[in-house]
């Protein structure tokens, strides 16, 4: 089991035989512990990719294998976070983060008896993302960046092997975004979790990822795979270096071309 995620020759069509073909001939592999980023022109099927890997959609053609299992139903070893933090406003931040534990089979029966232990886990995660002491606050008492941090905690609380992030920082201002890049970078280093990040932001992809997949316009497929050579741990300063800008420039060129072809 060398690859945590392997996708082979996947076609996914929405709305029956005559519907839109979202991805076609999609193939990619993500190793365990890797940080992969997926970039591409808008409407290239990045969100479809998310849903294929998490088992929310089952492809018509091809195979999706996650953690050695053929994906035929939602896989509960995955945590997800979207651009919209979707915190439930009637729950405190702590209760929001506990929500996945009330769902996942492995935890839901243990939750009541071991609540203390789980709450400690939440508090540890909150501390990791810089939200120590905010557990009792309601989501609407938090800023956008803080909500997104809490969202990351919620995605990680059930100790998923794979974290799928769909433009989680899209709605944040530049400085908050950079702060959260560092949070993600540190989480990845500390937890050893495999991360797939779908993003529009090329600098974000280059800063965070080990591997960058460039997707074509619809129907989406992988045009190119880049290995990011920068050593870890990376500092935000790296973004002002020439080799970093060269990579971003190259990615930019490839996506511009993919858009032009479409």
């Amino acid at each position: 089991m060398a690859h945590l995620v392997s996708i082979d020759d996947v076609d996914m069509r929405y709305g029956g035989a005559e519907g839109t073909l979202a991805v076609s001939g999609l193939a990619m592999r993500v190793d365990k512990g890797d940080f992969a980023a997926v970039v591409g022109p808008s409407g290239c099927g990045k969100s479809t990719l998310m849903k294929l890997v998490t088992g929310l959609h089952i492809p018509q053609v091809g195979t999706v294998i996650v953690a050695g299992q053929h994906v035929t139903q939602p896989v509960s070893i995955v945590g997800m976070a979207f651009q919209n933090p979707t915190m439930l406003p009637w729950r405190t931040t702590l209760e929001n983060i506990l929500l996945p534990l009330e769902i996942v089979e492995r935890h839901r029966h243990r939750l009541r008896a071991n609540r203390r232990e789980y709450i400690e886990k939440v508090e540890h995660l909150l501390e990791l993302v810089g939200l120590k002491g905010f557990g009792a606050k309601f989501p609407w008492q938090l800023s956008g960046g803080m909500q997104q941090r809490a969202n990351l905690c919620r995605a990680l609380i059930h100790e998923p092997e794979l974290l799928m992030l769909d433009e989680p920082f899209g709605a944040l201002d530049a400085f908050t975004r950079e702060e959260l890049w560092c949070v993600i970078r540190d989480l990845h280093a500390a937890q050893g979790v495999t991360i797939v990040l779908v993003t529009h932001d090329l600098r974000e992809a280059a800063f965070l990822a080990d591997k960058i997949f460039v997707m074509s316009a619809r129907p989406g497929r992988i045009l190119k795979e880049h290995r990011v050579p920068f050593e870890r741990p990376r500092d935000l300063e790296i973004m002002y270096e020439t080799r970093f800008n060269d990579l971003v420039h190259q990615l930019h060129g490839e996506i511009a071309q993919a858009r032009a072809v479409a």
Binding site: K51, T54, G55, L56, P74, V75, S76, V78, M80, A81, F82, N84, T86, L88, P89, W90, L99, P100, E102, I103, V104, E105, F138, W140, Q141, R154, A155, H158
Partner: protein, 272 residues
């Protein structure tokens, strides 16, 4: 938030200017008083006969004169209304959850519900009388029929508008439909539900009084109908006044319950 700030600043201001009045708080009373004054002056100025439009002073006189039947009939109307409304809450919540559960049920039942709602309830009362005789039961059922529709629609809307991302996050964790409903759908629809209670309670009064007017020996509707047939117009207006008071009281109660139960929804809008 405005209330707390006013409370905290008020004592300081009162110390300096003792005559300061909270106009916002006083406004409902002042406007009601103004309405009655305007009405009184209008009736006196135009010399309207009491059988057409009695002046408020004449109506209050009728309230004092007929206080015993007014009280008894008000209690009866309040009873039928509350009972019908209570049934509507239970039934509306149940049907709303049922409809919101699946798109197919929603698509299938919604037109039927609209059809039922469009039927004038005054046409239904005679059928109810055939089934149950006159009196309390048709009044309760009419109150139920007229007030449960807004509850159903609101609960179903709350369920139908769950954010797809939330659903995806939970489904990816292996959540069943029931999990999503219990954890997200139902709490989410609660502000809609409690909001709809305010509309439903006023409609319930319309239903019960309607039924009492057509087919009952008790209640404000019946009292007003017989007062009207005796040209006792001040008593008719006294009945309307009693209804208005009951309506406002029950509405405030629902508004209070709404604030108590779904404070998070209100606080969140204030925070934004």
């Amino acid at each position: 938030m405005t209330i707390t700030t006013e409370n905290s600043t008020a004592p300081a201001i009162v110390a300096k200017q003792p005559a300061r009045i909270n106009w916002v708080k006083a406004a409902p009373w002042l406007f009601t008083l103004g309405l009655f004054l305007f009405w009184e002056l209008l009736v006196r100025g135009l010399g309207t006969p009491v059988t057409i439009l009695p002046a408020p002073s004449r109506i209050f006189q009728a309230v004092v004169q007929y206080w015993s039947p007014l009280l008894k009939n008000s209690a009866q109307t309040l009873f039928t209304t509350t009972l019908g409304f209570g049934l509507a809450v239970v039934g509306g919540l149940a049907i709303g959850l049922f409809i919101g559960w699946s798109k197919t049920i929603y698509a299938g039942l919604y037109p039927i519900m609209i059809g039922f709602n469009a039927i004038p309830k005054v046409a239904v009362v005679p059928i109810l009388v055939i089934w149950f005789g006159i009196g309390t039961i048709p009044a309760v059922i009419t109150a139920f029929l007229i007030s449960f529709f807004p509850i159903v629609v609101n609960v179903a809307t709350g369920l139908a508008t769950i954010e797809p991302e939330t659903e995806d996050v939970l489904r990816a964790l292996g959540a069943k439909k029931l999990d999503i409903m219990l954890k997200v759908g139902i709490p989410r629809s609660m502000p809609y539900f409690f909001g709809s209670l305010k509309i439903a309670i006023t409609l319930a009064f319309v239903g019960s009084v309607l039924s009492e007017t057509v087919a009952s020996n008790y209640g404000l509707g019946n009292m007003m109908a017989s007062a009207q047939s005796q040209f006792n117009v001040p008593l008719v207006f006294a009945g309307l006044l009693a209804l208005a008071v009951e309506g406002i009281a029950m509405y405030s109660l629902m508004a209070w319950i709404e604030r108590r139960m779904t404070g998070w929804a209100h606080r969140s809008t204030m925070a934004n």
